[in-house]
């Protein structure tokens, strides 16, 4: 039988690219959730996801409605030189793939080993999706997968073909 999945393209999130030592970042912005310790994991704190995506690299994700509040709290332009805070809300577009066959559909585009034993509930990582750089994480009943915004229309097309 064809794949039993639901695919949604999500509206824009509030996203911030954080760079620098966790200590300096935490010191600068108290709104941040506790910094995840393990590589490629995330922490959640009242609707804000903090993803540890690279050495001294973090992605902050929240509802777009919180963007202005977060800018006010993070004060990117005032941040000291030891850290870098950049709003990147528009750079990624998210797809939500859910349903019984979500994992199978992910396998068509993503080379990551997404088995529960390897890619746990708090896992997040940059990888590939249909050959494009993509941010992959779990969500309720499936996966969130984000690609560079300008590629969004393409990926939507691939997903519809893959599940045709």
């Amino acid at each position: 039988m064809p794949y039993d999945v639901q695919i949604d393209r999500l509206p824009c999130f509030a996203l911030f690219d954080l760079k620098g030592p966790a200590t300096d970042l935490a010191a600068w912005a108290d709104v941040l959730p506790a910094f995840p310790k393990a590589a490629n994991t995330l922490t959640r704190h009242n609707g804000v996801d903090l993803c540890f995506t690279g050495r001294n690299r973090w992605i902050l994700r929240a509802d777009i409605a919180r963007e202005d509040a977060l800018i006010a709290a993070l004060r990117p332009e005032k941040a000291p030189p030891e850290i870098s805070i950049t709003r990147v809300s528009d750079t990624l577009t998210f797809f939500r793939i859910t349903g019984p066959d979500a994992a199978q559909v992910m396998l068509i585009g993503c080379p990551l080993d997404l088995h529960d034993s390897v890619f746990g509930p708090d896992a997040v990582s940059y990888s590939e999706f249909f050959g494009l750089k993509a941010l992959v994480m779990r969500c309720e009943g499936g996966f969130d997968c984000a690609v560079e915004q300008s590629f969004g229309d393409m990926v939507a097309d691939y997903l519809s073909r893959a599940t045709a």
Partner: protein
């Protein structure tokens, strides 16, 4: 019509008859049949014609090793060159033999048999030379090629390729593979087991053996059922592991996925460990006319009676050099076939083999010297090995076994090496090159008990558990005395049935000095057919060994290349076609552009952009001219979003930019921008762009659209590998800052109409200045750069706001007749200004001085990327090609790329036209060119040499418009 179908037995469903068509004949078979078994059941013996001599051929094997009967499927499952032995029968199947016309029964190509003796191996190297190959080629091409090429892609369904991960991948679900899967699966490993056959069991499907005292297939069913209950095990039949790459990356082709939308699925598997349980392939014996229909591999005959309930003949002779054929003889007899005799080259036949066939006449120390009969075998001529009188035995089936070759293909692909084993007389897996093991017959464990044991052992080792108990089983010991070819006898003795390679051909190759195994293979084409020599290669090596008196291990094998069996390109490609391979990038204005009938195309770096906006009745040139006039005389707007944009942050940014740009950036004051040029360290221009200093420690650096990714790599490599201690962060914000660039003398009016809280007076916001604020109520960064040479405002906003901004610009600009501008007009405008373009003027040979950009090469800095390389290059080269402007005389277009030659003569070029556009400002064609010593040749006349004419052009400075640049500063 004779039916060779047995009343009982086999794994076919006699309640589900299927009808099919073969070479135009309507025939009947049963569910569970292959095309081959169904043909044999219908008494069809002559099923093919050979490749070169067009000799009559029948079915030789029962699986992927089949060298003889290739068919072309027509209708729904159209495909070519399929071994009939691997085509599952389905109702309405239509098949025809390849490579014969009109039919295998009456084949015109058979004429080749008559001239056969004059066309030995490599004959075409020696003839067809006069007057030229072109005279013969078309005929030769038609004769070759087997099946017709597919005419169209599949009408419904698509192919899929997917990634997969497992702890253990097992290739082959025979006794050894199943045992390994069960052992590792029970231990909780993530196991994937794939097998090429329609059902699991491997050799057990073809033989009559017992495991644990009951029929082996009962055991198979029990194992398969248990595997199905284990969530950590993926079991795939009809699935071939076809390639074994580096780092335990294997390709697995699933031919009948459970998803109806799918034709085939290709799994790209990254396996922790791999077990090759690929079994063994029986090899032919080599004697006169060993290719006659009815001459069949012993294991194949056994398979047809046991698995398909088909008698491949009524009266059989079995010819062997090893024990396994005795079990075959017993099975044939049990199936009601008269076994006239067993011919065995061994003088003393092991008792355990002999006892299997008490009432069969066994002729030890004998060989078959030739098969009789033309269109099918009628009998055999036999003789003692050591010479002596020959005699004849009549039969309609000659089942022969030359012994067994472990299927080491995958193992070899993994770069595991092989050793020659004298007792088994075959090449066996030796040292592993990756985390892989080989078990069962694939590893030379030819007896069932050993196969089960090695499988269990490998599975246990993989899981790190102790060896489980093995069910008991009985099997015949494997003993063999090699017989690479029968030396007595007459008639063509084939080593490679598919490519018609005979013993004489190999001897000829050796005689002529083609004495390396690879030379022999290439000269005779032995082993280069669709079966890739699965049954014959070893005999070729054996024949060479006999001739040269060299041991086989010294000769070695030819390379085992992927794929193990042919795989359709569709499965390899999966979904990754067209736009998936080369994705488009879209800006938020794509919909607007399309609605406004822009001509869209890829304009580099995967961005799909508007080339121009034609109005009804306009020609291409008219459109471009109109857009240019709008910018020069009024106001236009274009979407500059794709420009590469990076945010730099940190104390050492200035220092870093000084290193990568040729000019000095660190002195830039916050609130200002500066144009800069970047070189590779060996002095090639890699990019140009603008740097804006937002504050002491924050910068924005823009790069050309096409080089954004390369520049990102450039920045990160330098920062991470050369300056890890420098305090610099780089963040890509290309898709965070889209922009609409309003350009033209009336640009400022449009900005005022839009409304902005930024002071846009020339004093407050001069050329190369920028400011943050709002434009038309939208948060924006306003930048004064110009790619057109006119007053320009680059309005940078978040992509989510761009469509809104664009609409407001159109409304606000309406009174000024604003219009959208495509990249074609942009090209014209930059050429008028002599702005350089990577890909046009910059082609990997010019340096900044050649382009008149010497001013951007800092003299103050003692070192920056490319500084010294440029100096070295200039010191060692003369007659550099320098950027100039050209005015065609008389006024006309010169194609871009046209070479400039002295006097327009047929002589080496002295330059080329890099661009030529119609300038609406001058109402004439103007161009740019790279010309040897061009800077000192202004005013001269040069000549562009086209194929049909020569165009003169006057050399000018490279700036055709507003040389002082007051307009872009206005």
């Amino acid at each position: 019509m004779p039916s060779n179908r047995m009343d009982t037995g086999g794994r076919i469903d006699r309640d589900r008859p299927l009808s099919f068509t073969f070479n135009g004949r309507r025939l009947q078979g049963f569910a569970g049949d292959t095309l081959a078994s169904a043909l044999l059941a219908n008494g069809v013996r002559l099923t093919a014609r050979s490749f070169k001599y067009h000799r009559p051929r029948g079915i030789v094997g029962a699986g992927v090793e089949e060298p003889s009967t290739l068919v072309e499927l027509l209708g729904d499952d159209a495909s070519g060159n399929r071994p009939a032995t691997t085509v599952p029968l389905r109702d309405g199947l239509i098949a025809k033999s390849v490579n014969c016309w009109p039919s295998p029964g009456f084949d015109m190509g058979a004429i080749n048999q008559l001239i056969g003796r004059f066309i030995p191996a490599g004959f075409y190297y020696k003839t067809f030379k006069w007057p030229g190959w072109h005279l013969y080629e078309p005929t030769i091409r038609k004769a070759a090629g087997l099946a017709a090429a597919p005419a169209a892609p599949p009408e419904q369904g698509h192919f899929e390729s997917r990634f997969a991960h497992c702890d253990l991948l097992i290739a082959g679900a025979g006794p050894a593979g199943l045992m390994a899967a069960l052992t590792a699966g029970r231990a909780g490993l993530r196991v994937m087991i794939a097998d090429e056959a329609t059902e699991a069991g491997g050799s057990l499907l073809n033989r009559r053996l017992t495991i644990g005292g009951t029929p082996a297939l009962g055991w198979v069913k029990a194992v398969v059922d248990e595997l199905a209950t284990l969530p950590n095990v993926t079991h795939l039949q009809n699935t071939t592991v076809w390639a074994y790459r580096e780092h335990n990356y294997l390709m697995v082709n699933e031919r009948a996925p459970d998803n109806p939308g799918l034709l085939e699925r290709n799994w790209r598997v990254r396996a922790g460990q791999v077990i090759c349980a690929t079994g063994a392939i029986e090899r032919m014996l080599v004697f006169g006319n060993n290719d006659r229909p009815g001459v069949m591999l012993a294991s194949a005959a056994q398979t047809y009676v046991n698995r398909y309930g088909v008698r491949p003949g009524q009266r059989a002779v079995v010819f062997t050099n090893n024990n396994s054929a005795y079990a075959v003889a017993a099975d044939l007899a049990a199936a009601g076939i008269t076994v006239a005799a067993i011919i065995d080259n061994r003088t003393d036949v092991p008792e355990e083999a002999r006892t299997l066939v008490e009432d069969v006449d066994v002729l030890a120390g004998h060989v078959v010297t030739g098969a009789r009969g033309a269109r099918q075998v009628r009998g055999v001529t036999i003789a003692p090995v050591d010479g002596g009188a020959s005699r004849q035995i009549s039969c309609d089936l000659l089942a022969h076994s030359g012994g067994w070759n472990p299927a080491v293909h995958l193992w070899s692909q993994s770069r595991g090496n092989l050793r020659y084993d004298d007792t088994l007389t075959s090449f066996l897996p030796d040292q592993a090159a990756q985390d892989a093991t080989s078990v069962g017959a694939a590893n030379g464990q030819m007896i069932l008990a050993d196969a089960l044991g090695s499988g269990a052992r490998a599975g246990a080792d993989a899981a790190g558990i102790t060896m489980p108990d093995i069910p008991t089983s009985a099997d015949l010991t494997y003993a063999i005395t090699p017989l690479w070819r029968v030396e007595q006898g007459r008639g063509k003795a084939f080593l490679d049935i598919q490519n018609d390679v005979t013993v004489d051909d190999v001897h000829l190759a050796l005689r002529e000095g083609y004495d390396n195994v690879e030379h022999v293979k290439r000269y005779t084409t032995g082993g280069m057919g669709i079966d890739q020599g699965k049954t014959g290669n070893i005999n070729i090596i054996g024949t060479v060994a006999m001739q040269q008196g060299a041991p086989l291990e010294e000769l070695g094998t030819t390379t085992f290349r992927s794929p193990y069996t042919p795989v359709s390109f569709g499965a390899i490609g999966g979904l990754r076609e067209d736009s998936v391979v080369l994705p488009y990038r879209h800006t938020p204005l794509t919909a607007w552009n399309i609605k406004n009938e822009a001509f869209m195309y890829e304009s580099g770096a995967r961005w799909r952009r508007p080339g121009y906006f034609p109005q009804p009745g306009e020609s291409f040139q008219e459109t471009v001219n109109r857009e240019c006039r709008i910018v020069r005389n009024g106001v236009g707007v274009y979407d500059g979003s794709p420009l590469g944009t990076f945010e730099f942050k940190g104390r050492d940014v200035g220092r870093f930019l000084d290193h990568i740009y040729t000019n000095i950036m660190s002195t830039l004051k916050p609130g200002h921008g500066r144009y800069g040029l970047m070189l590779s360290d060996d002095g090639l221009i890699i990019d140009d762009g603008v740097a804006l200093r937002l504050s002491e420690h924050r910068w924005i650096v823009s790069t050309s659209t096409g080089h954004a990714d390369a520049m990102n790599s450039h920045f990160e490599e330098l920062l991470q590998t050369q300056f890890p201690d420098w305090n610099v962060f780089v963040t890509t914000v290309t898709s965070q800052w889209n922009n609409a660039t309003i350009c033209g003398p009336l640009a400022r009016n449009v900005m005022q109409a839009l409304g902005t809280d930024i002071d846009i007076s020339p004093a407050a916001l001069p050329f190369m200045g920028f400011a943050d604020g709002h434009v038309a109520g939208i948060p924006a960064r306003l930048v004064r750069v110009s790619f057109t040479g006119e007053l320009s405002f680059e309005v940078n906003v978040a992509p989510r706001h761009l469509p809104a901004l664009w609409d407001k610009i159109m409304t606000a600009g309406a009174p000024f007749n604003i219009a959208p501008i495509g990249s074609e007009a942009n090209h014209v405008l930059r050429v008028e200004k002599g702005f350089l373009s990577l890909g046009h003027e910059v082609d990997g040979t010019v340096d900044p001085y050649d382009l008149g950009l010497g001013w951007v090469m800092s003299k103050k800095k003692t070192d920056y990327l490319g500084k010294h390389a440029v100096a070295i290059r200039r010191s060692g080269t003369t007659n550099r090609r320098e950027l100039v402007g050209i005015l065609p005389q008389p006024d006309q277009m010169i194609p871009e790329g046209a070479p400039l030659t002295p006097g327009g003569e047929r002589r080496p070029t002295e330059g080329l036209v890099t661009a030529c556009v119609y300038s609406t400002v001058h109402d004439r064609w103007v161009g740019l060119a790279l010309l040897e010593n061009g800077h000192s040749r202004h005013g001269e006349t040069v000549h562009a040499r086209l194929k049909d004419k020569v165009i003169a052009a006057r050399v000018t400075p490279p700036i055709h418009y507003d040389a002082v640049g007051e307009r872009l500063r206005s």
